[in-house]
């Protein structure tokens, strides 16, 4: 595709009236220079290494590991075997006790904008929006690869899609890093009402869905509609256009601070002067006149407490962790957990990830991000240079935080199955160490072994020995066709990553 340069492109952040401007979204291709400049700073990352693991799953235990992380490794299987299914799940749910300190300290050094406020990013990188953008994208890759908090990171991606904000649009390079930290990561395994409230007060969300210009004289319905359709109740007509209008009225005046260079830039601000203080009726409930900011808070309570919200979130979680077509009874069980616990996500996940349920889980198609991370984890690879992976994510249409509309990257087989070539090309690029920036140990994949032995070992290493005979035979024949040397073995490993079996989890 035509590449329009992102670097150097700089629109004023504010218009003449001092309001945050919409910057037309350039087609993203992260500039080489931005990724290049990262390597020295990121050098601490080199020491990190994912342990090797397998993709195949035969038991509920293996399925659990696959579903709660982007690929898994032997140590995790061993740990699970040692403490049992339920204890392992509790350990992952109690993620605070899992030490990700070493990873986070490396990330904080390499990607300082991760810890910054919008004002600090503006001061430091106001003229280089690509820097915070790249920081956030690469942090997502490294966290998925290396964090011991497997389930937590899977939930982060789930909520990143659910409360989608396009990092590449408008002024989000200032705001989304804060939203990622203080909304999504802060509440990913907390309670849904807290998460919803944090999102509703998030400057990034208010700007993304244009609530910053929702005014009592001319309500802007954008946030109100997506709040109901995408964030809480779902698009199944549990509400009317009138409800959307009323919710929009309740959120008039919910906006963001805008002083340039001041500490307040990009923080939440309720502008009482622009708030519609009349009486409203939302989903049949009267919100009395004069409520001010409480109108919006009340709407959030109504929505978070609505049975449709419980079912909508429950069904979506089941899709994410179990399979594309969850049964009605399963949705009911998880929705009950929501209602009984006040939307406690851990309580819901205990029901979603029940052992008996995982035993019946059907394979799902990995999304491209999942595929790439799981390949690196499966191979125990070291990501020495992230450029190749970023390019492949771009080619596959799955760069983190880069989905423009508010519904988030789809969690559907139909959407992702059509484009298979970028998957093959990612896998085909793996063996070229210098070009891919990916180094993985060959271990027992020794050139002295026979093609049949090598195919079997690749099967054991990447698929836990579950590979189909036809795929294993193809790999063996690929190896047998020429002199077996380390390069050929690496190519065979790439072939295994391109196989149909590795596309699933």
């Amino acid at each position: 595709m035509s590449a329009s340069a992102f670097a150097g492109r700089r629109e004023p952040v504010r218009d003449a009236r001092g309001r945050l401007r919409r910057v037309p979204r350039p087609r993203l291709r992260l500039p080489d220079a931005a990724l290049e400049g990262l390597r020295p700073a990121a050098s601490g990352i080199r020491g990190l290494r994912a342990m090797r693991g397998a993709a195949g799953a035969a038991t509920p235990e293996q399925r659990l590991l696959q579903r709660i992380g982007f690929g898994w490794h032997e140590a995790e299987l061993a740990r699970l075997g040692a403490i049992g299914y339920d204890a392992y799940l509790e350990e992952q749910l109690g993620y605070e006790a899992l030490d990700d300190g070493p990873l986070e300290s490396v990330l904080a050094t390499a990607f300082p904008t991760l810890e910054m406020s919008a004002a600090e990013i503006y001061d430091g990188y106001g003229q280089q929006p690509v820097v915070p953008i790249v920081h956030l994208i690469l942090a997502a890759v490294y966290r998925a690869l290396y964090s011991p908090r497997r389930l937590f990171e899977r939930m982060v991606v789930f909520w990143t899609d659910h409360f989608n904000i396009d990092l590449l649009s408008e002024v989000q390079f200032l705001l989304k890093p804060v939203d990622d930290r203080e909304v999504v990561r802060a509440h990913a395994l907390g309670t849904f009402p807290d998460l919803l409230s944090a999102s509703a007060h998030s400057p990034a969300m208010l700007v993304y869905l244009t609530n910053d210009s929702n005014d009592k004289d001319h309500p802007n319905e954008n946030y109100a509609r997506e709040l109901m359709e995408l964030h809480t109740m779902g698009a199944d007509r549990g509400y009317t256009q009138r409800d959307v209008r009323e919710v929009a009225r309740c959120f008039t005046g919910w906006t963001i601070q805008g002083r340039l260079g001041g500490n307040g830039l990009g923080t939440f601000f309720f502008d009482a002067a622009r708030h519609d203080d009349g009486e409203k009726t939302v989903l049949g409930q009267t919100i009395p006149a004069g409520g001010g900011i409480e109108d919006g808070e009340r709407v959030l309570e109504i929505l978070a407490g609505h049975p449709r919200t419980a079912r909508f979130i429950s069904r979506k979680l089941l899709r994410w962790f179990w399979g594309y077509e969850p049964r009605r009874a399963a949705v009911d069980q998880v929705a009950n957990a929501y209602q009984n616990s006040g939307g406690d996500l851990r309580a819901m996940l205990r029901v979603v990830l029940r052992r008996s349920r995982m035993a019946r889980a059907r394979p799902k198609l990995k999304r491209p991000f999942h595929l790439m991370v799981s390949a690196l984890r499966g191979l125990g690879a070291e990501l020495q240079d992230p450029r190749f992976v970023v390019r492949q994510l771009e080619a596959a249409g799955h760069l983190p935080f880069a989905w423009p509309p508010p519904n988030g990257y789809p969690d559907s087989e139909g959407y992702w199955s059509g484009l298979i070539l970028p998957r093959w090309n990612f896998a085909g690029g793996l063996p070229a160490r210098r070009a891919s920036g990916i180094r993985f140990p060959l271990g027992n994949l020794e050139p002295s072994a026979t093609p049949a032995q090598l195919a079997r070992r690749i099967d054991n290493r990447l698929f836990n020995g579950t590979l189909s005979e036809s795929t294993r035979t193809s790999i063996e024949q690929f190896l047998a066709a020429r002199q077996v040397n380390p390069r050929r073995i690496r190519e065979a490993v790439g072939l295994a990553v391109a196989s149909p079996e590795f596309q699933e989890y």
Binding site: M1, R21, A235, G418, G428, S468, E491, A498, P500, E504
Partner: protein
Amino acid sequence: MANHDCKGCREYDRLTRRNFVGLTAGAAAAALAPGWLPRVVYADSDSSSRDVIVSLFLRGGADALTLCVPYAERNYYNLRPTLAIQPPDAGGANRALDLDGAFGFPPALEPLLEAYRAGDLLVVHACGLENPTRSHFEAMHFMEVGRGDPPASLYTGWLGRHLQATAPTLRDGVLRAVGIGAGLQRTLVGGPLTVPVRDPAEFGLEGRSRRAREAALEVMYAVAGEPLQTTAVNTFRTIDLLDDIDFRGYQPAGGAAYPDDEFGYALRSTAALIKAEVGVEAVAIDLGGWDTHDFQGPVEGHMAGLMGSLAAGLGAFHQDLFAGGVENVVVVAMSEFGRHAFENASGGTDHGHGGLMLVLGGAVAGGRVLTDWPGLGDGQLYEGQDLEITIDYRDVLTEILTRRLGNPDYRTVFDDPGYTPRTHGVTV
């Protein structure tokens, strides 16, 4: 994706691509066809003179009252105090380009005037999807599957079903439809020999040992479960096909210059694909960014830029194909809905109802604005806020399907008991 240990499938292991393709094309096709694909009964049709269709989706809800300005309507100016395009006789840069004495293009669509004046471009106004939803995702889904209130089981696209129902124009063709983009547009889902392609010029395996890896992947995917098996087979065929077309060196005819943006590139690739005559019958292209809740900028801002891209691309496409003598092509552009008739406080417009379609082609009864104009006055607006729909968008598609795409039975595409198409004279 269940067949990892397909014991009965061993015989496929030794298939090369050539005989694999031969097999699917021949008598054994039924054995390999995905189970969910309905058995196809081709309608009788004359395939020799069929148009190639380019389905263009303007994603985000394009503002029809800016794309084609009802400048004769006083209410328009009351509803749009800051966003209105001024009448053709106004002074300054903000004035409409007259189309028919009542409607006009905004200045940014100037590159479309040539096609309009040549009678090749038709504007259909106040049309759309007969469903009250103002949700992007619902409205896009409904429009693309082709039904206002579809049953959950209906997930194929209208164009995909058309391809199912008609025989290929090229008997031995391997590629009937292309969706330009990362994932396949819903419009094309269900279509046989249909593949999403991000960039036709770069569609192939990369890296070392390419041929050996390709051969191995063919064997692996020949026994894979669905939907990966079908995807893989189509991908291999498409790699070979596109490899033979010189997209990079493509020279447009008639001095046409495509704009240097993603949309222009997609249209340029589409033109090259059509002229290569490899049997491609349908192409889907998206142009996003129309969700103009604020800072709409119809004259020199955001929307003007988008319209400029749209017009420059389509203008070049028109010049390239029609000047080059390729006339059996039809482009149809639509959006999931229009926007509120009145502007909001943010210099934008919120999700509305009635919209607009553009139809471009050699056999299009163009050079006019086709509309049963509902008006923008009190009592004329849909739910008091939006342009009403007086033409079902499927009427436009049905005329194209039956008169230009060789499909004699619209019900193979729009099987909706509540729908009977009306003919408006979209084609000549």
